[in-house]
Amino acid sequence: MATPAIDGWFTTGEQPSLLGTRCVTCGCVYFPKQDDYCRNPGCDGSEFVEHALSRTGTVWSYTDAQYQPPPPYQPPPGDYRSFGLAAVELPEGITVLGQLADGYGVDDVHVGSPVELVVETLYVDDEGPRTIWRWKPTDLDGGTR
């Protein structure tokens, strides 16, 4: 059975989403989760609730990894294949990094193009597949490119 590569950073259902926290005092959202202190300099809040981030957003920028990254990166089984990476602006005003979904690369996105969150296998270890969130392009033809 697939398990997340890290606990508590995202949900894994049909409509997965990233899990951050929101400061109860000022409303600022944090990803990864912030539980102890609010990083808004005008707020000394210390109470947080879990907050699911928007599942869709637009590409702020993007690239790929044409060489295998060094450890602690865990390569998937088989020969190395490059993968895409994108920083995605979510409507609530936070930009989040992620790999591009399997099969998508830098030619499938441009600055401003829409993506949605998916969960896919990152690597496989003794306990089976380990999953991670990824950004999947949703408008392959409608871009301005």
Partner: protein, 395 residues
């Protein structure tokens, strides 16, 4: 009077020498002392730029260099600020001088770096973003640089050829720099023919990691005068400001920006604010700058920096580049030393190396790469986790 004098500068050549960082640091320090004609025993403060990849001796760089040069009872300090380490070490030395607690301060940074991608230290650290970004995303340093480069293409119409032109220019600048590691002409076709590391950046767009060392001997203006130096190169500003919340540009090694939904973003980006604070402190403006040394971790980043430093409007750096204005002889030469393109990065030494180069430029001693008549120079760099610096020197 809030100036201090740069009395001596020195470097150990960049390369892959395989020696201890201490050896490079000592060589650079002795070169700076010789340049200033000041004996080691006059030094009352040693500030070391820390290296975090060289065992305990690297963590206590100030002590390591002071001990290697020979315990003389001087005060010591060790600074760490990722790529801004050297500038922060300089800032500590300057503050101690201006506070009247030091007259002669030696600032030293040196590093020995592994081959290939910079990777986190060994061990599992599930609460360390610098470890997690490799583990969960395979997000290397060049990948961050590539995000910025791609935005120049999509937003301003930059091309991979433009990025290659930065490399061509810097390679030419560094040709006769005795401290540069790479001293070879490079053509646009060489860059575009090199493998893509992180689209749109090719191998030759990205700086290597190097061994190297640099040292700066700072003194009070009084001490310089007593030694007969009435017009030394002076430090006019050292900016080490941090971002303001929310930081809305994704910053290495983080997973996300701050949330801009509650507190509005400030009027300047972090990198713009670094330069802004430096100009304010120096009482100077971008128009006053004759020469700039900026942190070209990638070719495209040099173009970003030109705009962050106010040397041209946002989105217009490529125009200047294409017109040859950033070459030696142009309106505003950038990286006359050859930059990181010719040196490769030696983290705790790099910001000091920029100061060494500007010092030589302002003294008219930059043989083979001199920016004629340079009176004001600025540096810029950015490190991880909200670190960055901009230093202004003038004659």
């Amino acid at each position: 009077m809030s100036d201090v004098a740069v009395l001596g500068v020195g470097m150990h050549p960049w390369g892959k020498w395989g020696d201890s960082f201490v050896k490079y640091g000592v060589a650079a320090a002795r070169a700076a002392l010789a340049d200033a004609d000041v004996p080691w025993t006059d030094v009352d403060l040693v500030v070391g730029g820390e290296t975090v990849r060289n065992g305990y001796g690297g963590y206590v760089a100030g002590s390591t260099f002071a001990s290697a040069l020979g315990w003389n009872g001087a005060r010591i300090a060790t600074s760490y600020a990722a790529c801004a380490t050297g500038a922060q070490a300089l800032d500590v030395a300057r503050a101690k001088i201006l506070a009247g607690q030091s007259e002669v301060a030696l600032v030293v940074g040196a590093d020995t770096t592994p081959k290939g991608f910079l990777a986190p230290n060994a061990g599992e650290r599930w609460d360390d973003p610098d470890w997690l970004r490799f583990r969960l995303l395979g997000m290397t340093n060049p990948a961050y640089f590539a995000l910025y480069a791609r935005r120049r293409i999509d937003l301003y119409g930059a091309t991979p050829e433009d990025f290659a032109r930065v490399k061509v220019k810097n390679a030419r600048h560094g040709l006769s720099n005795p401290n540069a590691r790479y001293r070879k002409e490079v053509a646009v076709a060489d860059v575009l023919g090199s493998p893509v590391v992180a689209d749109p950046l090719h191998l030759l767009d990205i700086c290597a990691t190097s061994d190297g060392g640099a040292a700066v001997l700072l003194t009070s203006v009084d001490y310089a005068r007593r030694r007969g130096l009435t017009d030394p190169v002076r430090v006019r500003a050292i900016s080490t400001v941090t971002p303001t919340f929310p930081q809305t540009v994704i910053d290495m090694p983080l997973f996300s920006t701050d949330h801009a939904g509650v507190v509005p973003a400030g009027e300047r980006t972090f990198k713009e604010s670094l330069a802004h604070a430096a100009y304010e402190e120096a009482g100077l403006a971008p128009e006053d700058v004759d020469v700039a040394e900026v942190y070209d971790l990638s070719t495209a980043l040099e173009l970003d920096w030109m705009e962050d430093l106010g040397l041209c409007d946002r989105g217009t750096a490529e125009e200047l580049l294409r017109a040859g204005e950033t070459t030696i002889g142009g309106r505003i030469p950038v990286n006359p030393s050859g930059g990181l393109a010719c040196f490769g990065e030696a983290v705790p030494a790099q910001a000091l190396a920029q100061v060494c180069e500007l010092t030589w430029q302002l003294r008219g001693q930059a043989t083979g790469r001199q920016v004629e008549g340079a009176r004001v120079g600025i540096t810029a760099n950015q490190g991880l986790f909200g670190h960055g610096s901009s230093v202004i020197l003038s004659r």
